[in-house]
């Protein structure tokens, strides 16, 4: 699983923060949004590992040391167009735009840089080792016995199982057995 996007909202206006908070949670889950009323409170938190920062223009200007190196991750809330013109290279969010436009803008910043799938590994095919493990699972053999049979450690068996589940979207032994029969990894007659 991908780690959730970590987002910091550093805004003195509570309603604005909450509005942004609910838009992010509603339209771009899974996200983990933290609210900070000021830059000082934010600094006191001591965490600078956020994927995105939402700030006011003032906060940005007074703390360029912090934000300039992170400008690709920083989104500045503006209520006019003029400011935007002079700082083309910065990300802006127009607070007075319609909800539709705001969501489109957020989408542009939040969605483009993540790969189009939630599971990092695009290769859905089972490796031959995973197939071996799946076959033994389907025969009802315990993890410990699988480890002995394949001459691998118990931990490796567990890792294989985790990967099999992630690739197939199937968790239970009955489900995995079903998949194994369906794909001829074991023959159905014994079941």
């Amino acid at each position: 699983m991908h780690r959730n996007k970590q987002i910091a909202i550093i805004l003195p206006d509570t309603l604005q923060s909450l509005g942004l908070y609910s838009l992010l949670n509603e339209y771009f889950p899974p996200v983990e949004v933290n609210l900070f009323p000021s830059f000082d409170v934010f600094c006191a938190g001591g965490n600078d590992l956020f994927d995105y920062y939402f700030v006011q223009p003032e906060t940005f200007t007074f703390n360029t040391d912090f934000f300039l190196p992170r400008r690709s991750k920083t989104i500045i809330l503006t209520d006019g167009i003029e400011e935007m013109r002079c700082q083309q290279s910065l990300n802006h969010l127009m607070t007075k735009a319609s909800q539709e436009t705001i969501i489109e803008q957020l989408q542009q910043y939040l969605v483009t840089d993540t790969p189009n799938t939630s599971s990092g590994d695009n290769n859905k095919e089972l490796s031959s080792r995973e197939t071996d493990v799946l076959q033994l699972i389907a025969y009802g053999i315990t993890n410990k016995e699988i480890a002995d049979k394949l001459n691998i450690s118990l931990n490796t068996v567990l890792t294989h199982r985790k990967n099999i589940t992630a690739k197939l979207g199937i968790k239970t032994v009955s489900g995995l057995t079903f998949y194994a029969i369906m794909n001829g990894i074991v023959s159905g007659e014994e079941f």
Binding site: L168, I170, T172, S174, G175, F178, M182, G188
Partner: protein, 232 residues
Amino acid sequence: MALVYPNMQLSEVVQEHPSLIPVINRFEIRLGLGDRSVSAICNEYTLDTDFFLTVINTFLNEEYFPEKKLRTFHTSQIIDYLTKTNQYYQRYQLPNIERHLGSFISMSTPGNNTLNLIGKFFSSFKEELTTRIRKDEQVWFPYCLSLSEKLHSGPKEELLLNSSQPEEDTIEELLADLKSIMIKHLSGEYDENLCYAVIFAVSSLEKDIKQHNRIRYRILMPMVSAMEKLCI
């Protein structure tokens, strides 16, 4: 999602969320609700309005789960509700899925072996759920009730409850797998419409069981272990 309150018309709530119909049936409330408010209907059926609303609201909102409040209800109320959900699975939802699954398998191409396997997979799920229900009825629920009777005189607030998260629940996992298998791994010719009917029925059972399990693991179990400590 907005919560339901005592002064609201139950018919309007149900109109908006028809999935509540089986839930209100568990409280013996039947349709033909007229325009009476939730509290009027609860009075009429001598139901605890607070408990009724808590159940309905947790059912409608996945994020809403007032643990503290739920634990102030009487053990017998909670067990009564869980028993009724069990009966509903056994009498209606399982047979309903079976019926859909039966026609899905027979109406699709007879040669499609995958579908027969799905049928078998469902049978093993059904076996698992039926066993759990039997144990609930014969062993666990009577045990919980006897504990609560023993403590009947004692003050209830003294129950020290710690909410331990349950380990994974096989029943939920099997249902999730059944859905995932049909959605991700179905192959060969099949009847689309009947397939959707099966998935829809499985989904609604899955949702209901998730609610049941929340109450089971996060309310009843901590209540029971707290009562056990007091009984020693």
